[in-house]
């Protein structure tokens, strides 16, 4: 992140507070007890089982978890991108500035998607219409939400491509997706997503399909744009490196549930859930493992993710958990508040859903 563009309203520390924010003193997006399931041939898959979180303006929330843990389903259900049927949001609420976005995506007759919340996807190769020029696809958003004319929208699209650091933007805007490289396509996707200056950008594994150098460029671009526009980012990833680089707050999901949440420092330096610890130990690092002792080998988490047709009773992680106790197999743990490491924590309070933080357990054993 550079501070060279610091003439804008954005500040370096904490969230830039807009007038509206101050008036309502509400988080931008609040999700409460979200449940999503899918009717399939094999039965009902409970993909999301009671997820709650908040996103504040200008902040980056990373949602972390392994494949199939429900992180994509969570945000796609907020965006109304889950095909229903077979999908179903059977419980929970989600409000954007107090407006219920699960009931209706329209505020004042206008779709919030693309205007208030926009989204970029994992695979830019397939996420753009192959028979439409890049410029037209970006322009389309502006025509829909801003009522721009075709030429107006196209000119703005070229500017947006320039903002996304695409060289020869005017020429590139007239080209089709297959003429772009993957990295360029992801930049174009980002240009499309920020076209209407949304309050929230949802990035669903934005760097997974890219090679490492391009990943870094894309993450830098996202960071810069956040600086310039003050938008919030919800970043979905299974890459803890990306989390460390981008996130303010982190939410760790396992088997459709939130197992731990907190600031990025909480999660990395004092993780309170065995699953988060497992993830951290499975992450390659160029540092000597100071905190874990002498271990230098990567540690895989034993076993495989649970079958969401039939999630385990109690804590979903207990069959793989090295600290599993009798109670873990019987009852689902509540969220336990943990002390925070960062002093000026504006984000989420540190919480973990694990019996290890129960007072009886704490009395019996040491912290893991």
């Amino acid at each position: 992140m550079t501070h060279s563009t610091d003439n804008s309203a954005g500040s370096t520390v904490g969230a830039p507070i807009t007038a509206q924010q101050q008036a309502t003193r509400q988080p931008l997006l609040r999700v409460d007890d979200l449940h999503v399931d899918f009717q399939t041939y094999g039965g009902v898959v409970q993909a999301v089982r009671g997820v709650s979180f908040e996103v504040a303006a200008g902040q980056t929330l990373a949602i972390v978890g392994e494949s199939g843990c429900g992180k994509s389903v969570t945000v796609q259900s907020l965006m109304g991108l889950i095909p229903m049927p077979p999908g179903r949001i059977h419980k929970g609420t989600a409000t954007l500035r107090g407006h219920d976005i699960l009931a209706s995506k329209f505020v004042g007759g206008q779709d919030i998607r693309g205007r208030e919340i926009s989204m970029i996807f994992q695979d830019p190769m397939t996420s753009l219409n192959p028979t439409m020029t890049i410029g037209r696809q970006i322009a389309e958003t502006l025509e829909v939400h801003r009522g721009y004319s075709q030429s107006q929208a196209f000119n703005r699209a070229v500017e947006l491509l320039e903002m996304s650091k695409i060289p020869e933007a005017a020429k590139r805007a007239k080209q089709y997706p297959f003429e772009f490289s993957v990295g360029m396509l992801q930049r174009a996707m980002i240009a499309m997503a920020i076209a209407c200056e949304p309050a929230i950008l949802v990035a669903d594994e934005p760097t997974t399909a890219l090679d490492v150098t391009i990943q870094a460029q894309i993450l830098d671009l996202l960071g810069d744009l956040q600086q310039e526009t003050g938008m919030a980012i919800i970043l979905i990833t299974h890459d803890l490196g990306v989390v460390a680089r981008m996130a303010d707050d982190v939410m760790v999901m396992y088997a459709g549930e939130v197992v731990e949440r907190g600031s990025v420092d909480d999660i990395f330096y004092c993780s309170g859930h065995p699953y988060t610890q497992g993830l951290r130990l499975a992450m390659p690092s160029n540092k000597r493992a100071e905190d874990g002792g002498a271990e230098q080998t990567l540690l895989a988490i034993d076993g495989s993710p649970p079958d969401l047709f039939n999630p385990p009773t109690g804590c979903a992680y207990h069959p793989r958990c090295p600290h599993a106790m009798n109670v873990c197999a019987q009852q689902a743990p509540a969220q336990y508040g943990l002390g925070s490491t960062s002093a000026s924590n504006q984000g989420l309070s540190h919480q973990a859903a694990c019996w290890l933080h129960h007072e009886l357990c704490a009395a019996q054993k040491d912290q893991p």
Binding site: P306, P319, M325, V327
Partner: protein, 458 residues
């Protein structure tokens, strides 16, 4: 269920279980999974049942229904299914002597005095009318003239006040119309129409000849008998429709099944040779296939048929098969070549080779199972088109040669008498449609079942 009820015991370490590694659903092989998916598809399964039923119809059917498809039943020409089989014994035909008759006198309701002279039978319909100077024209129709606006078939222009109709009489209702002609020979407005029900009769000698009564059996005039049974009626030559459908089905299904099997087989060999050899040989082989593909298929089928001709006593089945095989192999060849080229590059083939797999093993374990599904689906979809081709060629008179029946040829014959005897067209058309439908649905089901992308979905 609250945390306050917990005791210290609940926080004892849980013994390690390895249940997490167990898969909760059984793993299925590709073919077992495909078969399970096919079985779960009611449309595919019922079409499979229909195909088996059709095969049984043409193979087992002739053993059960042993009527010769080429024998003409002259008493039963072009009858519909379920037609009246009753026949009345009568005296042999005696020539009519109408001169002895007194012509009827005209009345106000019937200015021409048009009447039936004797009861109408399939032997003859004898009509008479008032004797006047101007000539009369007599028509016969199977439909009421006021419905169709036509008097039908003109039988004769007559100066005499009588007429005996013996032309191809069937036990049906006929509408006879008599029209008075003016001096110039033009039709006048004066007409009369008789509605006549013709009864089927047969002489004792004829009945004995047909085996309806034994030679030594006594029979009386007026006694009713039952003619041979044709459950689906007969065609325009009096041949049993059911038997012809069975034998015709043998021809149609023979061509419809064998041709795709043969040209897909040829195409698979050609395509896999090209795919394996690669390089310039592959290029040359595929260029040739491109040319054959570009040929308009049906035009060349017709050309082949004209060129080969059909000699006397030949059915014309083999030239049709040959032409189909010669013209249609390139499509499966291209398909298989593409598959082979694609699979050759797949990581799992490379992995297999790295582990020391021999070429035959790679072919048998990877190439074949992965192309077999595509080939199977192709064959299934080629069956309807082969059956259509046979029907099309037979319809334009370029298919199997008469008297060999095929469903297409039967349609061709049936279409000529469609308005009066629709069953002659409808039955073979239904057989074709049922077969084509069944193979299309089975093909759909197979494609869905074998499509690996669909595994686990829905």
């Amino acid at each position: 269920m609250s945390a306050t009820d917990l005791t210290q015991a609940d926080f004892a370490a849980l013994p390690r279980q390895h249940s997490a590694d167990q898969l909760s659903r059984p793993s299925l092989s590709y073919w077992a999974d495909a078969w399970r998916r096919l079985r779960a598809n009611p449309r595919a399964m019922s079409s499979l049942g229909l195909i088996l039923a059709l095969l049984a119809f043409v193979t087992v059917g002739p053993m059960v229904w042993t009527v010769d498809p080429s024998v003409q039943d002259v008493d039963h020409i072009g009858i519909s299914p379920g037609a009246d089989r009753q026949v009345t014994l009568t005296t042999p035909f005696i020539p009519w002597e109408p001169e002895a008759l007194t012509p009827p006198t005209p009345s106000t309701g019937n200015p021409l005095g048009f009447t039936l002279a004797q009861s109408a039978t399939t032997q003859s319909v004898r009509l008479t009318w008032a004797d006047q100077d101007s000539p009369r024209r007599l028509y016969r129709n199977l439909f009421a003239p006021e419905d169709t606006g036509s008097f039908g078939l003109p039988l004769a222009d007559l100066d005499t006040p009588y007429f005996e109709d013996r032309l191809d009489l069937q036990p049906e209702t006929y509408y006879y119309t008599l029209v008075a002609l003016d001096a110039a020979g033009e039709e006048s407005e004066t007409t009369a129409t008789l509605t006549i029900d013709v009864t089927r009769v047969i002489s004792i000698a004829q009945a004995q000849e047909r085996g309806l009564i034994q030679p030594d059996e006594s029979a009386e005039i007026g006694q009713t008998l039952k003619l041979a049974w044709h459950p689906l009626g007969t065609d325009y030559l009096g041949r049993d429709m059911l038997a012809r459908l069975m034998y015709g089905g043998q021809v149609s299904l023979f061509i419809g099944l064998l041709a795709p099997l043969a040209f897909v087989f040829l195409g698979v060999i050609y395509g896999s040779v090209a795919g394996f050899l690669g390089g310039p040989v592959d290029q040359a082989m595929m260029r040739f296939a491109d040319f054959v593909v570009a040929l308009p298929f049906l035009l060349f089928m017709i050309l082949f048929k004209v060129v080969f001709g059909i000699g006397p006593g030949e059915s014309g089945i083999l030239p049709m098969l040959a032409a189909m095989i010669i013209l249609l192999w390139p499509a499966p060849a291209r398909l298989v070549r593409g598959q082979i080229l694609q699979i050759r590059e797949e990581a799992y083939v490379s992995a297999s080779k790295l582990l020391g797999a021999t070429t035959p093993y790679v072919v048998g374990r990877h190439m074949l199972p992965n192309t077999l599904g595509v080939i199977l689906v192709t064959i299934t979809f080629q069956v309807p088109s082969a059956i259509f081709t046979e029907a099309f060629l037979s319809f334009i008179g370029m298919g199997v040669a008469p008297p060999t029946p095929s469903w297409g040829a039967m349609c061709n014959e049936g279409i000529k008498s469609m308005l009066t005897r629709p069953h002659e067209l409808l039955f073979p058309a239904m057989m074709i449609s049922a077969t084509v439908l069944a193979f299309n649905l089975l093909g759909d089901g197979l494609r869905d079942a074998l499509d690996a992308r669909m595994r686990g979905a829905e």
